[in-house]
């Protein structure tokens, strides 16, 4: 091949993706690259361009109505839908970013093929590439499907949510009738200082959320370990039966079990009736008023203990026997053995579980929403109750109030707190060196 031809191909490769590869024998790869380019162009023409164009303003034409005399109706003339422009604008941006990356790869591939040709090597064939996929590059095969799922249904929606925090999307700017637009950091300002009522409520709920998460995690953790130890104790018969009793509660869907527990503990609920019938109390105990926070913690204990019990049972049975042996040789009693061996070992093995539990409790929507709905309401809080967690407060802001801007701002704050905490703790206690130790 002459020098000029190489130049033409290189030039062509800039305009038509895959040309460089195809011209040098990597036909399949070339066709794939070209197909990607075609599909990107189609995508933009039919779909993306319109949304990208409106992305900066999030729409300019508001929906109106015009009188239609013959039909006797005020016909709707559709306007822009800010929400869809935002969502699909992000989608188009993401696809464009992918395309740009692909384009750079294409150029590199072209040069590599050219270089190989100059050096008289044969660039790898498509078949060779495919074969390496099953071996050296196997992670690409395995990660493709999960990555597509994540990108489309987790990453993209979450970017959308993050963006909403920088708009004025609320009840008075609700598509399709109204437009919303970018407002910068106004929502963060409102939560943190310009609206004292909101910031105070935010701080109070944050305080309770953290208290709740720490207490709920600790009680379930130690309760579960204690229960597992009790069932595993020498001399306890029918271990499997006892364990099964507690396991049953895991299998009942929470929206059912929590609803029943709510009825059970209500002011006029079954427990109060029983206690009154037995003459133990005169006045019903107000589980969901006077003791609401204790009650939700207890119910969460009820839900969480069986899980920890199951897990620790597994671990307890598998603490290396030689650890105990050497402790006994050193003359340690049962209590000391427990404190010096069982507890540290347990903590070491369950650290990741503990961290996941803590994070799960910060976001424990089900228990609060289905049990109390955040009640009892209180005037110390703005549109929230004493048992509301950040997550249930956020949910109410979207569903009841359609205050998406506030909710997504809250979402970001929750995310920063939890994300920082879990990254730090995972890499400190559970990640890092440990995985290699085991292998």
């Amino acid at each position: 091949m002459g020098q000029s031809k190489a130049k033409v191909i290189t030039g062509l490769n800039f305009a038509v993706m895959g040309a460089g590869c195809a011209a040098r024998g990597q036909v399949a790869k070339g066709i794939l690259l070209f197909a990607a380019q075609c599909s990107y162009i189609c995508f933009m023409v039919f779909f993306g361009a319109g949304y990208l164009a409106g992305f900066r303003t999030l729409g300019v034409t508001e929906q109106t109505a015009a009188w239609n005399e013959s039909l006797q109706i005020n016909e709707t003339i559709k306007g822009d839908n800010s929400m869809l422009i935002l969502l699909f604008g992000i989608l188009s941006l993401a696809v464009t970013a992918l395309f740009i990356y692909l384009y750079i790869v294409n150029i590199r591939l072209g040069f590599k093929a050219l270089q190989a040709e100059r050096e008289g090597r044969r660039p790898p064939t498509f078949r060779e590439d495919l074969r390496s996929l099953w071996n050296d590059k196997y992670h690409l095969v395995l990660l493709t499907l999960p990555a597509i799922g994540l990108l489309a249904f987790t990453v993209l929606p979450q970017i959308f949510m993050v963006c909403m925090a920088f708009t004025n999307f609320d009840k008075t700017h609700q598509p399709p009738g109204k437009l919303f637009t970018w407002v910068g950091f106004d929502n963060f300002k409102e939560i943190f200082w310009s609206n004292p009522r909101k910031s105070q409520t935010f701080l109070r709920i944050l305080g309770w959320t953290l208290t709740w998460a720490v207490t709920a995690t600790a009680t379930c953790y130690f309760g579960g370990i204690a229960l597992a130890l009790l069932i595993n104790k020498k001399g306890i018969r029918l271990k499997k039966m006892w364990r099964s009793f507690f396991v049953i509660t895991i299998a009942v869907p929470q929206f059912v079990s929590l609803l029943l527990i709510r009825q059970f503990l209500n002011d006029n609920g079954t427990l109060n009736i029983l206690l009154q019938n037995w003459g133990l109390i005169d006045q019903p105990i107000m589980f969901f008023r006077d003791y609401a926070r204790q009650t939700v913690l207890f119910v969460n204990f009820w839900i969480g203990v069986p899980y920890t019990m199951l897990i620790t049972t597994g671990i307890l049975m598998n603490i290396p026997a030689d650890l105990y042996e050497s402790a006994r040789m050193d003359g340690a009693g049962p209590f000391l053995t427990f404190r010096k061996i069982t507890v540290p070992y347990m903590f070491f093995v369950t650290a990741p579980y503990l961290i996941t539990q803590f994070v799960g409790n910060i976001n424990n929507f089900n228990v609060i929403y289905l049990l109390t709905g955040g009640e009892p309401k209180s005037l110390d809080y703005y549109k929230a109750g004493k048992t509301d967690l950040l997550i249930t407060w956020l949910y109410k802001q979207t569903v009841d109030e359609q205050d998406y801007k506030l909710a997504s701002t809250l979402g970001i704050i929750i995310f920063i707190i939890i994300g920082a905490f879990s990254l730090l703790s995972f890499n400190l206690f559970a990640g890092g060196g440990k995985e290699e130790n085991f292998q």
């Binding site: 095969v141 395995l142 009736i273 990741p352």
Partner: protein, 286 residues
Amino acid sequence: MKSQGFYRFRKTAANVLCHVFLGVLSAVWLIPIAWLILNSLREERGAYTSYVIPKGFTLQNYVNLFTNTKTYNFPQWFLNTFIVAVLSCLITTLIVLMVSFVFSRLRFPSRRKLMNILLVLGMFPGFMSMVAVYHILKLMNLTQTLTGLVIVYSAGAALVYYIAKGFFDTIPRSVDEAATIDGASKNTIFWRITLPMSRPIVVYTLLTSFMAPWADFIFVSVLMKGKVDKFTVALGLRQMLERETVSEYFTQFCAGSVLVSVPLVILFLLTQKNYVEGITGGSTKG
């Protein structure tokens, strides 16, 4: 040997005490379940009774679920949920295993970074993005379909790779190395060697992902937009609790809940051992 007798007595007493204590605890844990069953057998209507034991017992609440399907099509909902649960637990398990295998067994650049990103991604409050997920599904023409529901339940599976990865980490690498020397590709190792050794974690993942669709009602209501023959049991049963219908249908709601729970309980009890081994893989072989 008086002291030995005393010691034995103390030991027996402690044992009896432990059994009693376990009995009390079991009662606390089982009372709500027992109460659910009692309510499902109650003859009188009403969402609430000022007494504990029903005045009359009947199986009619269960029968109604299957005969009176015009208003509440329970059999259809049950079938829908079952289909969604089976499909989504298969896909979820496949994804979880693939991702965990990659992170545990394969080494490639940016692996650590990717693991951290996945870890953090799972911590965003999910329902804020529900509307976005809905519109993405609409792009794919999958709203008001069970397929859409399956996709949503399994698309995020990669985020919970952690436990399965912990399990894979405990399988000695020497097994892989031996296989590689024999000429096996990574693909072969994954399917032929690692997976067969991972029964507990496969069962664990299957079980946990099978249970999710039976409990979710929030996303289903957004996705199905009232298309009642595509409802799942959780959403359908919750319909019975509306202000206008709750006193009429509460006992049926309980009966339906029992019917949903029973298969799950059985499944859980049968696979308990695997569940424990799966989640504690790191220690059982450590």
